[in-house]
Amino acid sequence: MNLKTHENNGTVVVSLAGEIDLEHSPSVRKQLMELMFDRRDVLVDMAQVAYIDSSGIASLVEAYQMARKNATRFVLVAVSQPALRVLQLARLDKVFALADTVEAALAG
């Protein structure tokens, strides 16, 4: 698992890569929640996510709920095929804001 962040016009782009499983989701959760506590707008680039399980999804749901409460943005971008499959199983593809590219998400 690998998590990188960079800023783009005041929005934080979090790039997730690799396998987001029970070993790594606590650290993903922690870093996302810190951004949420700072009330940042966040895009999560999931193009390089090779695997995600329910614990990884739970971290995204928690961040999403916090963003809703704070009225900040939380968008999943370029969701990889394996991650999309899992979002669909959880029927969360209809809940999260999704975007095809970082550019589209920043524009939208």
Binding site: D21, L22, S54, E62, Q65, L89, A90
Partner: protein, 134 residues
Amino acid sequence: MMDTLFPARPERLCDIRRAVAESASRLGCPQPVVHDVVLAVDEACQNIIRHAYQGCDGDIKVQVSRDDHRLVVRLIDFAPPVDVAKICPRSLDELRPGGLGTHFMRAVMDEVAFLPPPSGAGNMLQMIKRIGEP
């Protein structure tokens, strides 16, 4: 046929996924099915780590075999017996961070059931996936 004991720890889940993927492929599962089976096994092992052993040391025995048109996965732990009545997936309409694992297992597998464990073991979960001709 796979029959391997793994430590029940989050950082060993990746080894379990690798081994199950390899075994399911060798037993003739098509690739998308392999991915689903791996997810189901990962979720079941997570539950053993989180709910059965609850952070204490323990092992998970992972068995994968083929019985005609069925891929059969068995996960055996040595934790105290689980109160099966308490295991229920949350409704997907309710949005909260947890409660997805058992839902994923039931969504991707054809059968998921606790069977009486072998003597000395705590719990045995059996998951079955129907697959095509060998």
